[in-house]
Symmetry: C2
Subunit: 157 residues, 2 copies
DNA sequence: CTGATAATGGAAATGATTTTCAATAATAGA
DNA sequence: TCTATTATTGAAAATCATTTCCATTATCAG
């Protein structure tokens, strides 16, 4: 029924096979949800979204798959301080939708921002290079988050 | 018995009292450990360090105190992906020891780096200002971490 | 010194994530 | 296409960091 993503459907086959992973219904469903989702889904969110179509995919599998995807670098695992991990499809640091996060410490609202990203990314790349050399690290990723209080939460006081 | 910190001992009194908090033995012990510790302590680490001197301070209190300190901005609560929160004494973004983190995703080793910090902080301040205005956020803090694989872990393969 | 109440600890509860294990399904090769 | 190998699975149980409960204790303003 869904059509748009048919073209893309295959691109993660290779990524899986190449690492000896098998491509299963559950994994496809999870990737499908993640790749379309706006926002930041928890394991349970994903489980819920998948359940109607794949009632036979358990929460355990969701966790296991997210772990695999995260290790493959296809998904970012994020912590916004609300006690559960959140997952976000990785479009790659150069991807069209690369963004950083602005986190409200009161209500846990998250704003994805792309403003200023260019300067940030440029600096980050430099820093990444420098750090990698100095500390002999193979740097694969970075995380930037700003924390504060959103307007609604400020007003409530 | 300890002498060096006598001078500083008082500086957090005010911070507590000002917010209606009471200053207790346990809280002092926890602050003391945190202010001296290199590295990134978990709640249990702190509990262990305190226990010999204050066997009557429970883990629950450690958690509660860390929560308070974190809310007061005196301590940063960090997540390095190893399943437990880590805490770090906040010397303030302008403090002498401000640093960011380089995290090995294999062995969870953490490197605190201060290189490049100046440029980073400058950019961050700008970004912070811009974001704060655009999204009406009162930004209080930021987090920057780089993830990668350290040399030892690379060599193991 | 004393009352109001913030803070405490220990045990029990919580809740996200992991592990276990026998059953199942994906894939490579015949 | 069929089969053997072995990765993957779901459900239930186990883990384990963190929180909550509640009766007791300690801090500190007056």
């Amino acid at each position: 029924m869904p059509r748009g993503e048919c073209r893309g459907e295959g691109w993660w086959h290779g990524k899986f096979r190449g690492c000896g992973y098998r491509l299963t219904l559950g994994r496809e469903a999870i990737l499908d949800v993640l790749s379309k989702a706006e926002g930041h889904l928890s394991a349970e969110d994903i489980y819920m979204k998948i359940h109607p179509k794949c009632p036979n995919v358990g929460l355990t599998t969701v966790y296991r798959t997210l772990d695999v995807l995260s290790n493959l670098g296809m998904v970012y695992k994020l912590d916004f301080g609300d006690g559960r991990a959140r997952y976000e499809f990785a479009e790659g640091p150069k991807g069209a939708h690369h963004h950083h996060h602005l986190v409200c410490t009161e209500c846990h609202k998250i704003i994805d921002y792309t403003d200023f990203i260019d300067d940030e990314v440029e600096l980050l790349n430099q820093t990444e290079k420098g750090l990698g050399q100095k500390y002999k690290f193979k740097i694969t990723n970075h995380l930037i988050q700003f924390y504060g209080v959103c307007q609604e939460c400020s007003d409530k006081k």
